[in-house]
Subunit: 320 residues, 2 copies
C-alpha cells in the first residue's frame, strides 16, 4: 500500500502546494484510489507516476471546493484517453450526485466509461476482495466523513513445493488446501490444509480524516491504524481560527493520533499563512505535534510513503 | 494592451500546456480581463505576474469543461484574499449562470465581493470608458462566441503649455477645449479646442475566437484587427478530425486571418497529438499557417505580447 499526496494546502493553492487530494495504490493491483480531488489534481497526476487509467474509486470527505473542483475535469480527461473504459465509483456526502450530474450536463461532458455514485452513510461503505472501507462523521460545519481503509487479513503463503513433495496432484485440491480445508487423496491419505499454509498477516489500516476539528469520532475511526492522515490547518497559537472554521490545530491532530494509538501521523492541509515570514511556520507546527505524538511527519506535494506489511500473527487467525 | 496566454492545450492539460485561458491587461488601468477559464487557471495566475485582485471581467466563449472548470475555484480563491471586494462580471452563453450558482451552492462557497453574470447575445455586450466588446456566434456544436475588444478612438493630447501661453485660465474651460469645443475668453478672443488638441489615435482591436471550425462570422468579427487569436487544434492533414469535432486546422485559422486583413495571427488550443513523435508536430502546423498568413506565431503557456498603439490619424477623427 502506497500513499502519495497530490495537494497539501488548505483552501487555495499556493506556488508550492496544491489543494487536497491523496492517492492510494494497493499492492499487486493496478488500481488507484483517490481521497478528495481539489482543482488541479489531474495536473498533479500528470507530474507523478500515477495513471488516471487505473482510477477505480474516489472518496470525498466533503464538498468544499478545495476538495472537489478537480473532479469533473479529471473524469473528462480520463475519458479522452484511448482505450480507457473501466468504471469509476465516487463516494461522498449527499449532494455529490447532483453536483456531478449538473456539471457534466452544463459542460456537455460525456464519459466513455461507467460512472457510479454512492452516497456515504457512517459504517462500512465498500468491500473488495482485499479491503474494507469505513466512514465516520467528522466535525466541519458541513457533512464530512473520515475514511478508514482496512486491509483484510492476508492468508498465509501456500507452500507449493511441499504440496508437490507430498505428491498432491495440481488442480482443484490446491484451492481447498489454500483455504485451510482438509482433503483426502486417492491413496487414502488425509492432508490438512493448515499444514501447507503459512501464518496469516493482519491487514494494514490507513485513516484519512477529512477537514475536521477535534472529534472523538476521529479517534475511534483511527484506532490502531498503521497510518493516520489528519489535517492541521493551524498551529495551537491560532486555535481560535481553527475553532472558528471547524479545522484542527497540529495539537488536535496529535491528540487524535495518541489517543487512537496509531503507528504514524502525517499532517497535511496547511494554511498558507505558515509560508509567510514572521510566523511560527511549518517547522513550529510540526514540533508542536511531535511534543504529543513523536512519530509525526509533514506532508508536501508528491510526498509518498509505503505502508509496510504487518508481521505474521504468532497463531494463525481463521475468519470462521 | 497586453495579452498573456495561461493555457494553450485543447481538451486536457499536458505536462507543458494547461487548458484554455487568456489574460488581457488594459493600458493605464490596474484591471485584468480573462477570456475562458479552464481548470488550473488560478494556478497559472499564481505563476505569473498577474493578480486575481485586479480581475474585473471574465468572458466565456463556450461552456465546455476545458474552458470553464477553473472558474469557481478562481473566484473562491480570489475571495480568500484579504481586502478584495471589487466586483467581477462574467459574460457567457446561456447556462453559465445556472452552472455558477449550482457549483457555488453545492460547495457552500460564499464570495466576499459582488458577482454579476451577463448572458451574451451577438453584438455589443459591454462598453467601458475606453473599450467596447462585441460578440459573434462561432461554429462549434454548442453555443459559442468569439469576442472582439475594440479600443475606442483615443483623443489627442491636450497641449496644456500652449493653453497657458494663450492666457487661458485653468478650470472648466480646459474641459471644453479638450473635447474640441470652441470657447470665448473674457477678453473676447475665441479659441478653437482643435488647435490645442493633438491628433487622435484609432483604437486597437483584439479578437478572441473561441473553439470553432471555419466560419465567415470569424472573418467579419476579426476585420482589420491588430491581433487575432484563433484556435488551431489540428493541422490540415487531420482535417477530418477538425470537421468531426467542430474545430479548426491551422489552415482554416490562417484563412480567417488573411480574409479579415488582420495584422498578426496567434494560434493556440493545440491537440496533444502534436507533442507526440512521428507526427507533423507544431512546427509543421505553424508552417502550414504561415504559407497562407506569414505573420503567424504559436502561443505557449505564459507567452505574452504587447499590442502597440496605432499611429495617430492624419486627419483627426470626431465621433460626431
Amino acid at each position: 500500500m502506497k500513499i502519495t499526496f497530490l495537494g497539501t494546502s488548505a483552501g487555495a493553492p499556493t506556488r508550492r502546494r496544491n489543494v487536497t487530494s491523496i492517492a492510494l495504490q494497493l499492492d499487486q493491483k493496478s488500481c488507484l484510489w483517490l481521497f478528495d480531488c481539489g482543482e488541479g489534481t489531474q495536473h498533479q497526476v500528470l507530474r507523478s507516476p500515477l495513471r488516471l487509467s487505473q482510477l477505480e474509486r474516489l472518496f470525498f470527505t466533503h464538498l468544499h471546493g478545495d476538495h472537489l473542483f478537480g473532479l469533473v475535469g479529471l473524469l473528462a480527461s480520463r475519458s479522452l484517453q484511448d482505450g480507457v473504459h473501466t468504471p469509476v465509483t465516487l463516494y461522498g456526502p449527499e449532494g455529490l450526485e447532483a453536483y456531478v450530474r449538473g456539471v457534466l450536463e452544463a459542460s456537455r461532458t460525456r464519459l466513455q466509461y461507467p460512472l457510479h455514485i454512492e452516497i456515504v452513510r457512517p459504517g462500512l461503505i465498500c468491500s473488495t476482495e482485499t479491503e474494507e472501507v469505513f466512514a465516520a462523521p467528522m466535525l466541519h460545519g458541513v457533512p464530512t466523513f473520515g475514511y478508514a481503509v482496512q486491509e483484510k487479513t492476508q492468508s498465509g503463503r501456500f507452500d507449493i513445493e511441499k504440496a508437490k513433495d507430498l505428491g498432491i496432484p495440481e488442480g482443484p485440491l490446491y484451492g481447498k488446501l489454500k483455504r485451510g480445508e482438509s482433503v483426502t487423496l486417492e491413496d487414502g491419505r488425509v492432508i490438512e490444509g493448515k499444514a501447507l499454509v503459512g501464518q496469516e498477516r493482519p491487514g494494514r489500516k490507513i485513516v484519512f480524516c477529512g477537514d475536521t476539528t477535534f472529534t472523538p469520532n476521529a479517534v475511534a475511526l483511527a484506532k490502531d491504524a498503521d497510518l493516520l492522515i489528519h489535517e492541521a490547518t493551524y498551529c495551537e497559537e491560532d486555535h481560535h481560527l481553527a475553532l472558528r472554521a471547524n479545522h484542527s490545530t497540529a495539537t488536535m491532530a496529535a491528540q487524535v493520533a495518541k489517543q487512537a494509538g496509531v503507528q504514524m501521523l502525517v499532517l497535511t492541509h496547511f494554511s498558507a499563512r505558515y509560508e509567510a515570514e514572521g510566523v511560527i511556520g511549518l517547522p513550529g507546527l510540526l514540533a508542536e505535534a511531535q511534543e504529543i505524538f513523536p512519530n509525526t511527519v509533514l506532508a508536501h506535494d508528491f510526498w509518498h510513503h509505503i505502508i509496510a506489511r504487518r508481521e505474521p500473527l504468532k497463531t494463525p487467525l481463521r475468519e470462521d
